[in-house]
Subunit: 418 residues, 2 copies
């Protein structure tokens, strides 16, 4: 089975929005052992969509389409599919009910134009959209299976995983590619790469298993691709995972979609610890990350965003003389914030962050990127200075990730940073 | 002039790497007034690349190709282009010198395989690569201009900007496409679409100016594409902007990259107002958004994440009887949180959010997505109940966006929600 992926939208073709649907879908297919032969993107115009569908029907056995299923005038995928298949559009009574149900259960008023979303080519069946109003479509033309999904990534992913993946599984090949991402935080990509250099070498064509590194938002991930029968691919992955784990140890916090906040949350939950946060430059980001995970109320009790100095004094008992003598971005203030938060919240731990996220406010002694992170425990508080690179967003992100990592390493009793 | 953009690479087609080249290139072309009609991506195999080139030659006047110019066995773009044009590959002496020069000036050893990168179809000229080893290619077939660039984004962008853009400018002529995104929050896409339905109609080919809507993270944007001489495009855009503004009014908070948090921050700054936040289910997200903008310390003073009920009592003076009688997710608690925060922070305004972000914790009376948002002002506090759709992440995001919007509308003295 070979797949073509067709994306539809003016916002894609004009460059206003980057197409992430195609690569996500291909990655799902790669894992199933179904190769993708092409990604095609066209704008919101009837004839180009029809041409693209007809061309795909000649070149592959599986056509996945996303986009153009909205309720507005420029959503033409339903019409284009019907035209490409030489069929009429008919209203699907079940789809009308599904859309009405979605609006009702989300307490929204259904616009008359949403009714157009219940139209389908006569041969097609509709696929329920559990995350939005646009139902998907499924039909066949000759030997080609055609699935149409909404363009909104969250709706597309939910529909693919829930309703389309189960249909494709029987077609999966005997040879799959197992893709594994081992996520680390705390070491730069090049130094980390040196530690697993031998695993990444690929002189004579593509290696199997193949190992590489990627960086995204401060997270350095080791990617493993292992191709073979499912058990072979799993065995190859396990062998590489063990080597990588031996070399990178506590820098590794999780795999694939796992985040640092999930790793820390799980650790706090299992060990029955509680935590509070006291933030200045990160402005609530650390608390937000700790509460991203469902069930975080088991370990996260309260947090402060003491942006103004008066707030540090009123809420966390940071003495004004301390701020006057050392500045708000200083070790004593980071220590006092963590101590004050832990005392007031009556938690096992408290994390504090005070720094200069920029772009303004830097000085020669404390340039933009200077961040003090404090950790208060029953044994007292410690603080550490960091100099994070990048812009305001990156500095805030790194600071929060580092605070979470310091807590994780403290609980695990390891000190991977030099 | 119409453009086709062709990307080549197994890493793209397998989904391991997201294709960002196509959207970047299209955005450059859109600004020049050269519309893109398709993005196509194929893997590192000769015949599919040849087919894609031949297909593009039939459908557009400008073909931009990126990828497959490396020195290894799986880099086949040079060969495929020669085959598609029915030409031979010849070695370009200037290209050999350029590659040798690049290695020398980067203090690297040139591998014999890099010499293959100096090959070009006989009709083509080479384009110097100032950021890497792979020279680009330029040729013509009939009326179609063909440019080939490396796949590495930094190399591609540098080559496009330095060597290809100047070649395209004369073709752009006086006609440009001005792209404008008008961002709204507070109304669903379909109801909003109904209000500007007449502006979006386009059954008979592309409209100019063309108007459409997109949704991203709860933000519904009206996109305007206006094609013409620069002053015509600006005039068309202004006309549509005025119509859209008349109909959508205060739902509009900004254009292009502007966020709600920036709009609210600017408003607070200009009017010299200050704000504090009291969050439960959003866990710090609202404070984080308010402090995303540089200079936010002018208006954001402090915030609380009162996740546990004891925190609401200790920090914000929410009486325990109130929580016992109505639950933490209730109007009285939202009002008390906002009042407590405003009093304690001594700000002009305080926003409070208490809700059920899920996936657990919902009840028949208060299902997942139920959120109370409070706003305290000098005149007292008000609160409003919402039922946000989607998963935990979406509910938290919508709640924070709505809190910011309620504050914005309050300051502006408007009430766009029914």
């Amino acid at each position: 089975m070979n797949a073509c992926i067709l994306s539809i939208g003016d916002e894609l073709i004009s460059g206003l929005t980057t197409n992430t649907n195609s690569s996500w879908l291909s990655l799902q297919l790669t894992a199933l052992g179904i190769p993708t032969v092409s990604h095609v993107t066209v704008g919101d115009q009837l004839q180009p969509i029809i041409n693209a569908i007809r061309h795909a029907l000649e070149t592959c056995d599986l056509l996945l389409i996303s986009g153009g299923l909205g309720p507005t005038e420029d959503d033409l995928t339903r019409q284009a599919l019907a035209d490409a298949l030489s069929e009429q559009l008919v209203e699907d009574p079940d789809a009308v009910l599904q859309i009405e149900h979605w609006f009702k259960s989300n307490n929204r008023v259904m616009s008359p134009s949403n009714r157009v979303q219940a139209m389908r080519p006569s041969s097609a069946s509709v696929i329920e959209n559990t995350a939005g109003t646009a139902p998907g479509l499924h039909t066949r033309k000759g030997h080609v299976d055609i699935f149409v999904m909404p363009g909104v990534p969250t709706e597309m992913k939910q529909m693919f995983t829930r309703s389309i993946l189960p249909e494709l599984r029987p077609h999966a090949g005997n040879t799959i590619t197992q893709v594994t991402k081992i996520n680390t935080f705390g070491m730069g990509e090049s130094i980390l790469g040196d530690k697993i250099k031998d695993l990444m070498a690929r002189r004579e064509g593509p290696a199997n298993p193949s190992v590489g590194t990627t960086v995204h938002e401060g997270i350095v991930s080791v990617r493993i691709y292992a191709t073979g029968a499912p058990d072979e691919a799993a065995a190859m992955t396990d062998r590489i995972r063990k080597l990588v784990t031996d070399r990178l140890g506590p820098l590794i916090y999780g795999e694939n979609d796992e985040t640092i906040e999930l790793a820390v949350g799980t650790l706090l939950k299992v060990r029955r610890f509680t935590v509070a946060t006291a933030e200045s430059c990160t402005g609530g980001l650390l608390a937000k990350m700790l509460t991203d995970t469902p069930g975080s109320s088991a370990y996260f009790l309260r947090g402060w965003v003491t942006y103004a100095n008066a707030a540090k004094r009123d809420e966390l008992y940071v003495r004004e003389e301390l701020i006057a003598a050392h500045g708000a971005v200083s070790e004593p203030v980071a220590l006092a914030m963590a101590d004050g938060a832990r005392k007031e919240a009556e938690t096992d731990f408290a994390l504090s962050i005070t720094g200069i996220a920029g772009p303004d406010g830097g000085t020669p002694e404390k340039p933009v990127g200077t961040v003090w992170i404090g950790l208060a425990t029953a044994a007292g508080a410690t603080a550490r200075r960091f100099n994070f690179p990048g812009d305001r967003r990156a500095i805030r992100q790194r600071a929060a990730q580092m605070a979470l990592s310091l807590l994780r390493w403290h609980i695990l009793g390891v000190t991977p940073l030099v």
